[in-house]
Amino acid sequence: MSEVNKGVLVTGVIGSDTHIVGNRILSRALEQEGFRVVSLGALTPAAEFVEAAIETNADAILVSSLYGQGELDCDGFRDLCTEAGLSDILLYIGGYLVVGDQPWEEVRIRFRDMGFDRAFPPGTRPSDVTNVLEQDIAARRADAKQGA
């Protein structure tokens, strides 16, 4: 993994969720933007995200959850990362995170409290993500350097 890329990302759809289309389009777009994307596809258990992140020394994990059960699937996700030594990895999540049309602000806070750095509502387009992701990764790398 060279440093020339804008960052290494692990993407996938968590749990028993088969909605792959948006995740695939997002992964393709991020790759075209210069990120290195490790794409785990649909129906991916939480643990697999973490393993892939360790293996690839990823900057961020981008979790998709569309089918409504993300709230159950993501319970403890940050802890899994921390236990695996990925305490400072960036965690993004996007999609239809809960069952039904719940006020987005509440949902966002619920997922922030679960340890996700950012949550993205339905309707998000790749172009809504790239800039902020680049900045977050840069900031994270700067922090890491300072820490070192």
Partner: protein
């Protein structure tokens, strides 16, 4: 508790073939299956058959479907399921009374679909605790037969189990024994659209079990509604691909002794193409069943509201809901599976779900009695669909040397059969559809599917036009643009003409 165990055992006993599972062998398979989860033991087939027979005909899906076909009606049926018994009861009540649903749904949650009944139990407990559904459906196995019957007894319509899964053995047993009279799902369609690692062969085996079960009920005098879901990944599935899968799954079911087998096709959102595909599906399924010697299989066709991405704006979405009812009727479908204006916002409340039903029903009404029969553009489209389906299906059947199961698995392996945007690793998913400039879904890249040269050229010419007019490079971007198309905001979709 993993379902893999079951199919692994099967493959040792029974090499994959289309043949009907012998009765004795099937009874053994059932015992093994039912032993996997506590409530499996509650299934008593004779008692269940008696329960079905005691039900009024109006609650039998098969009866209602046959009536619809006889009278030329188009039935409405929503999707929907919530975690707890009370929430689910309340939902069905509203769908029946306010929504006038002709057929009631019971969508299962995604843990149940993947036979993760333990996780489903946790989700159910959490939902009860929080007073809101944390599951995206009704965990019917966890609720079990008695509670399902409590629901069945409460409503006045047939209930269909909508349990998008490649593993229907347990949900099928419990749903039917519980008094649901319809079950949606099939081996090829659902394996390619709902799983990642699961093999198509195992998916076929699992549905052979379910179809064999339906045949067993029939032997006991109970006609059940089995239904095949050719919406696949719901994402720009062209009519010909949907119909190919429908025919293959129907042939497999017929071999197991199923006599009542509905077919579903997702709408592509072009009026002519939608109507043509419904008509072509009706004809082709019967044509291939007849060719295989099945002359008495009843195959009503359901049209599904757009299965791809919806617009978030409710006014826009309502047009798609209304269109969905309207075109289902025009095309001659006997059933329409409805969505709501909440589609792009999340699982609908019972109220919005019921509203979607009424919008659809009025759409059906406004279609009056007309069809496109004789319309030149429609006839052309229907012929193209038929040519494509026959060309590829004949190849698939050839690959199986007359065995549909073998032909289908071989065809998917070779890419001769393919499904766009599939998450399944056993499916090449090279085929790429996109929308042309007139709004038809066309094939941008056939992958390895042997489409007839003529139709393929036609598809690509039409797409080239769109590429030119829209200024998009001919290639994947065209396909991605088509994924988003109908979810775009109105102002982008159809700008004020002077601005364009």
């Amino acid at each position: 508790m993993g379902n893999a165990t079951i199919t692994d055992q099967d493959s040792q006993i029974r090499p994959l073939s289309q043949d009907k599972i012998p009765r004795d062998e099937f009874l053994k398979m059932r015992d093994e299956n039912l032993a996997r989860w506590s409530c499996g033991g509650d299934v008593d087939l004779d008692e269940a058959a008696a329960y079905h027979k005691a039900m009024v005909p109006e609650k039998h899906h098969a009866h209602v479907s046959r009536h619809a076909v006889a009278t030329g009606a188009c039935l409405t049926q929503p999707r929907g399921g919530f975690a707890t018994l009370d929430m689910h009861k309340d939902l069905l009540q509203k769908l029946e009374v306010d929504g006038l649903a002709d057929i009631l749904p019971t969508t299962t949650d995604s843990y149940t679909r993947n036979e993760r009944f333990g996780q489903a139990a946790d989700g159910l407990t959490a939902s009860e605790a929080k007073g809101r559904s944390l599951l995206n459906g009704f965990p019917l196995v966890n609720h079990g037969i008695d509670r399902i019957r409590e629901i069945v007894d409460q409503v006045n319509r047939p209930i269909i189990a909508l349990t998008g899964t490649a593993m229907p053995r347990m949900t099928g047993e419990i749903a039917y024994a519980g008094g649901m009279t319809g079950y949606l799902g099939s081996g090829i369609a659902y394996t390619t659209s709902y799983t990642k690692e699961f093999s198509i062969a195992d998916g076929i085996r699992n549905y052979q079990y379910l179809d064999r079960l339906a045949a067993l009920y029939l032997e006991k005098g109970v006609e059940l509604h089995r239904r095949q879901p050719s919406f696949l990944t719901g994402t720009n599935v062209t009519p010909s691909i949907g119909i190919m899968v429908a025919v293959l799954d129907a042939l497999l079911a017929a071999e197991q002794g199923v006599k009542h087998y509905g077919l579903e096709l997702t709408q592509v959102m072009h009026p002519i193409q939608d109507a043509a595909s419904i008509a072509a599906c009706k004809d082709l399924v019967q044509e291939y069943l007849h060719r295989a010697g099945h002359k008495d299989v009843f195959t009503p066709v359901s049209s599904l509201h757009w299965m791809g991405a919806w617009p978030a704006n409710r006014a826009q979405a309502s047009a798609m809901v209304v269109y969905g009812g309207f075109i289902a009727k025009v095309g001659g479908a006997h059933n329409v599976t409805t969505k709501s204006t909440s589609e792009a916002l999340g699982i609908p409340t019972p109220e919005y779900n019921a509203e979607g039903l009424v919008m659809s029903r009025m759409g059906i009404y406004l279609a009056r009695d007309f069809t496109f029969e004789g319309h030149p553009e429609y006839q052309l489209e229907k012929e193209m669909i038929e040519l494509e389906v026959r060309t590829i299906l004949d190849k698939v059947l050839e690959m199986g040397n007359g065995d549909v199961a073998k032909g289908a698995t071989a065809a998917f392996e070779a890419g001769v059969m393919d499904v766009p945007w599939s998450p399944n690793r056993g499916c090449q998913s090279l085929i790429m559809p996109a929308r042309d400039d007139k709004g038809y879904l066309r094939i941008l890249d056939p992958g390895k599917m042997p489409f007839p040269k003529d139709t393929l050229r036609y598809h690509r010419d039409q797409l080239q036009q769109r590429a030119d007019n829209k200024g998009i490079t001919f290639g994947p971007d065209l396909a991605i643009d088509s994924v988003y198309e109908l979810s775009e905001e109105m102002a982008k979709l159809m700008p004020y003409p002077l601005a364009s």
